[in-house]
């Protein structure tokens, strides 16, 4: 379990990338995990099918906040069609850890928020892929 606090996660937690708000967002979306009170708000600026800018804010555990930071850094500047294919395993690869079912929700909340904000997809990314 000490693995959960690998340096990359602590580093993103202490110094989150893409943190804050946008002056002129096209979409703003907020979601929460009621089980633990994690909350993520994301703002997106989209131009010609590209996610030009993304910013997040919120509160929660180091896993949810680090996952948001890593995910935003990963998707900013990419075409939407590419972002749409991102799934559970991609987030876990970014984090570089394995997670039990409870903490998995923490890690996937940012991706859920992103997909709900841009495409209105409102299910957990692991359910989408038929896993649980």
């Amino acid at each position: 379990m000490n693995d959960l606090f690998r340096e990359n996660i602590l580093e993103h937690h202490r110094h989150p990338r893409c943190h804050g708000t946008l002056a002129d967002p096209d979409v703003t979306f907020e979601d929460a995990n009621p089980l633990c009170g994690d909350r993520i708000r994301m703002e997106f600026r989209i131009r010609d099918g590209v996610l030009e800018a993304v910013r997040f804010s919120g509160q929660g555990c180091s896993i949810s906040q680090a996952a948001a930071s890593m995910l935003c850094e990963h998707v900013e500047g990419r075409p939407l069609e590419e972002i749409r294919t991102i799934g559970r395993d991609d987030v876990l690869d970014l984090l570089g850890i394995e997670l039990g079912p409870v903490r998995l929700k923490c890690a996937l909340l940012p991706l859920k928020t992103l997909k709900a904000g841009i495409w209105g997809l409102n299910q957990w990314p692991d359910e989408e892929e038929g896993a649980s």
Partner: protein, 427 residues
């Protein structure tokens, strides 16, 4: 009836320790989970969520299944009689344990939640009308909020709340005002908060409510397991509690209710066992308490709860409570050593063995994960009390809670783990 008692530690292995010697290390030896080999010793500080089970409880359930498993109140053959006797023995043990006037006042349920839902469905539907009010508190577990939300939405019932004080206790001086217009039919509140540890003045609340014509429901989920509970001294009408926090198995709990109220209430669930007579289009209800026990009940679990109660009675609930409170006092003394730690709730002399806290700048999930690396189990989250956390202005908290098998060195391990969390997540 030539019934074999399947309950009780009398014939089981590892009998509970004698009443006179309360030593948590001796008590702990009766709980096999602590001697199960694992990489790190188990520091279990989550007894408010569910308690560990002594060998005598496991044995009683095992013995029931091995020797007399049969459906109750139906078969006339020997093991069916034995199973029925074991189940009804358990009810008698519960009745004595909580000071009920008769075992008929003890209705077995799945847990406290089901017991509260039983009152919401069977009693409230017959006794609370549109325009009436129900008084609750902000420190309720969701199990004593959501059933009333559902009911209030159905009937246009007003929900009122006894306010909290700054120390996380109930401002009961506000209660007479909440009852003044005579519209409140029920005051339903938690005896011991599962987050703050606050021991509420149940008898006083009961007296004030009764003086103004309201009925009283006490959620004793945390108290039945940890302090001497006497339902008649509480001045309540209904008391809900659950077996798995009382060292018993999951899937069994109970509602105590005043006999005349239970008699007058319509049933809760319909089905087998709860009826006296059934025709194609109508039924007559069984007598108490079976009127409220539809379908095959968790028989082995009731037997296990009976054994748990025998175990607790041999320890003495006064000693269990004194032990819990001493641990809470020690935790309250040690925890503030950790930089940025804030304890929620009142001083030790007004709480049970529950201590919830926040660590500034560290999410409770992260606290619990750091502690887990040392084998220390604490709960993190809102502990099924979201409105309370809202009221306290924190999104979540971490919680350590104790039982008869807990000891001081485990709190030392908790504090050491919290120092480690602080170093990992500097302020």
């Amino acid at each position: 009836m030539n019934a074999t008692r399947a309950t009780g530690g009398g014939t089981g292995t590892a009998p509970p320790p004698a009443r006179t010697a309360f030593d948590p290390r001796v008590v702990r030896a009766a709980f096999p989970i602590f001697s199960t080999p694992r990489p790190l010793p188990l520091v279990y500080l989550d007894s408010a969520a569910t308690a560990q089970k002594p060998q005598s409880v496991l044995d009683a359930m095992d013995r029931y299944y091995r020797t007399c498993n049969a459906n109750i109140h139906r078969g006339v053959y020997a093991i069916a009689e034995q199973a029925t006797a074991a189940y009804e023995d358990a009810r008698r043990l519960v009745a004595t344990f909580v000071g009920a006037a008769s075992p008929r006042e003890i209705v077995f349920t799945r847990n406290s939640t089901e017991a509260i839902n039983l009152v919401a469905h069977a009693w409230a539907r017959a006794n609370v009308a549109a325009g009436d009010a129900i008084v609750l508190t902000p420190m309720e577990h969701h199990s004593n909020l959501v059933p009333w939300h559902i009911f209030a939405a159905e009937r246009a019932i007003e929900l009122r709340f006894i306010p909290l004080t700054g120390s996380g206790e109930l401002a009961i001086e506000a209660l007479p005002g909440l009852l003044a217009d005579g519209r409140a039919r029920l005051v339903s509140f938690v005896h011991v908060s599962n987050v703050l540890g606050t021991v509420n003045p149940a008898a006083e609340i009961g007296r004030i409510a009764h003086e103004r014509g309201a009925r009283v429901l006490v959620d004793a989920s945390q108290s039945a397991a940890h302090l001497p509970l006497d339902v008649r001294a509480l001045d309540a009408d209904f008391v809900a509690f659950t077996g798995h926090k009382m060292l018993g198995p999951t899937g069994i709990g109970a509602l105590w209710g005043r006999r005349e109220l239970l008699e007058a209430m319509p049933p809760f669930l319909g089905g087998g066992e709860m009826i006296r007579e059934v025709s194609l289009t109508a039924s007559k209800w069984n007598e108490l308490p079976w009127k409220f026990e539809a379908g095959t009940m968790p028989i082995a679990e009731a037997v296990g709860l009976g054994a748990a109660i025998e175990f607790l009675e041999r320890l003495g609930m006064d000693q269990v409570f004194a032990h819990d409170r001493a641990l809470a006092a020690y935790a309250l003394e040690r925890l503030p050593e950790v930089d940025g730690l804030r304890v929620l709730g009142p001083p030790a002399d007004r709480r049970g063995g529950v201590v919830a806290f926040t660590l500034d700048g560290v999410h409770p999930h992260d606290v619990a994960t750091v502690l887990d690396a040392d084998g220390v189990c604490v709960r993190a989250g809102h502990h099924c009390a979201m409105p309370l956390h809202e009221e306290l202005g924190v999104p979540a908290s971490a919680r350590a809670s104790f039982h008869c098998y807990s000891f001081r060195e485990e709190i030392d391990a908790l504090v050491a783990g919290l120092h480690r969390a602080r170093r990992l997540f500097p302020r």
